[in-house]
Symmetry: D2
């Protein structure tokens, strides 16, 4: 069995909860209040910056080949994904300045700093392991909720979701899984993959509850 | 006014809440359930490791003089403080192995990764700014609760608290404040100091609620 | 006067020597032995990898805007420049595998490790300062030797040199100079710029002497 | 065979040259001109700072146990070794300020930046591998030249050399070898150990030739 298949299976209990999270279900059937989506988009824009930062650290420690791959991934986030976000933002009546000035919520900050810390203290492949649940779970969510999406009346939500049904998104997951499959220590990888999976769940939960700092 | 005085004043609203947190008050008057203290000690032991890690990153980017200072600080944490923790642990019927195997709770993980990320991405002095609220607030808590401590019947709590009334603790805070006073951008420093202060509050709250991962 | 103009002027004594280095003059008039160019191309390919690594570290520590700029720069090196090198290599009867397996010479290793160390220990703008002499001196060399190039009979050398006469190359230098112009400490910047300028000179000298490890 | 024994044996050709370097032989028999020793001490003081920096990076990426070991090693360099250097400096009519203001020579800079780059881009154990030749070769030099030292009339040279005959120095080497023996990829370790060994040779050579920057 592929290492990434084992990682995915060992986190079934978390991923099941991700798939069933009300934010996810309502986003796909179109019943999610726009306030929640607006909050999500603003947070996710900032998360994307953190993701790119993490990819830069990983690239900087990789051999020439993996460095080029990771750099290309970061650059595609910096262009395609950020462009996509700009469209989403404007469809929701928000500007890029709103996104930049939005304060990252506690769970978002914790997730970004976890990614950066993993990238800095661990090996490049362990760093990629931390990134994997984000890309992978979005594709799995999209596949599982294809039917639900058909009846979704919210154009913006449909546009948002369609990105993760794309072959490009699936290929990206495969590109990330390949190096992780060659990881040396399974137990270390499992710890990293589990924490990242937990943060994926918590991120949806944050957006569902419009999380704010306590003080 | 010293930069660190301004930082402290600008975070009054957070520090007031730290000073009044029930965990803090009950710890000082001796009414804190031992379950909470046990939880706290196990988490704080792990936090101390994260703190040392952060100091190592800061030292590695500093000029020779500041590197030596930061290194000495890290080494004193690694010896005096860890020894102190070993005493606390055994007084609470816990071993060092219990501490090592204890899973860091979400708020603890978030705080440690914030410190490490600040140390890695920012200047050495901004890194020290992130460390300051931890050391400083413990000394301020100790001073404000001196009277409360006198009636504390719990020997372990009294022993724990006495460390922060010590001149050594006060000197440490002064040693950290000195470089931070020379910081270049006040607004960046304020953001860092604020986030660290928030985490200090959240850390007490975590221990009061025996926080666990959602899943 | 712009900070980068001061830096350039304060390194006149080094840049004059760069401009007059026999490797440079012979490369532009076409009299450079192909053995030297072959050596140079193999070393420079590896240097390019080191340059990209350094850009990744700088990007990882920058704010969102500078991160995106630096990332785009790294990605353009990873695509346009590496492609250009593949053409050069094949024109010289060498393959990409030859380049990958070529052992970096002492001066090349020293230069790459200097860039990486500066990127890791210093601020992002100081990191960019370390990169500047490489990009800038190539453009200045090209401008100063335009006439010489006209009589160059070596097609490969002419193709190589034409890249640095391009407006794209000039714009790149300007893009790098802009953030460096806003640097905080001139004396620190000068030290970094001077060391990088020295390494530029030493790199040409290394290629002229076909430098090898002593043992 | 222990991994470190293999590494040592595979670098025989370099270590033989280190053992026979005229700087080393003359230092041990007392015939080394004081100008060379003065130069060496000033450079080595700066190298020590670079060594500590490298240890901090390694510590910051290590698990709790290895972090504490590496931190203790860095702190012992920062105290015992630096003190030792202060004695040496003053015996040679130099002050600590002379050492701080001495410009690191090219080989010294290259060696320090190699160590830092290895510590940053590689695993903690690979970082320790880069440090090993320095500590180990000094002890081997001391053992091989014990007899030569007996006739050494230069008190300062004798005092300097006696440090590396000490059991503490031997124990330090053993403490460093232990983690390196558990390294995962021998070929990567060999490359690192070889480069560090080369730099050890080049460092003696630098001091013998009073190396300066070309311009």
């Amino acid at each position: 069995m592929r290492v990434t298949e084992m990682l995915r299976r060992d986190c079934d209990h978390i991923w099941d909860r991700i798939m069933e999270h009300p934010f996810v279900l309502k986003l796909y059937d179109g019943t999610l209040p726009e306030e929640n989506f607006r909050y999500y988009i603003l947070q996710d824009y900032n998360y994307l910056i953190g993701l790119m930062r993490c990819m830069c650290v990983i690239a900087s420690k990789s051999d020439a080949k993996l460095m080029q791959k990771t750099l290309a991934l970061a650059q595609s986030e910096a262009t395609t994904e950020l462009e996509n976000y700009q469209k989403m933002l404007s469809a929701m009546g928000l500007s890029i300045e709103d996104a930049i000035s939005a304060e990252p919520a506690p769970t978002n900050v914790a997730y970004m700093n976890f990614l950066l810390s993993a990238a800095y203290t661990k090996s490049p492949i362990e760093g990629l392991t931390a990134l994997l649940p984000c890309f992978w779970s979005y594709v799995e969510i999209a596949e599982r909720n294809k039917e639900r999406l058909k009846n979704n009346k919210n154009e913006v939500y449909r546009a948002w979701a369609s990105v993760y049904l794309d072959d490009g998104a699936k290929k990206l997951v495969e590109d990330l899984r390949a190096p992780v499959d060659s990881i040396e220590s399974y137990s270390d990888a499992k710890e990293i993959f589990t924490t990242a999976s937990r943060y994926e769940y918590m991120f949806w939960d944050m957006a569902y509850n419009l999380e704010r700092w306590m003080l």
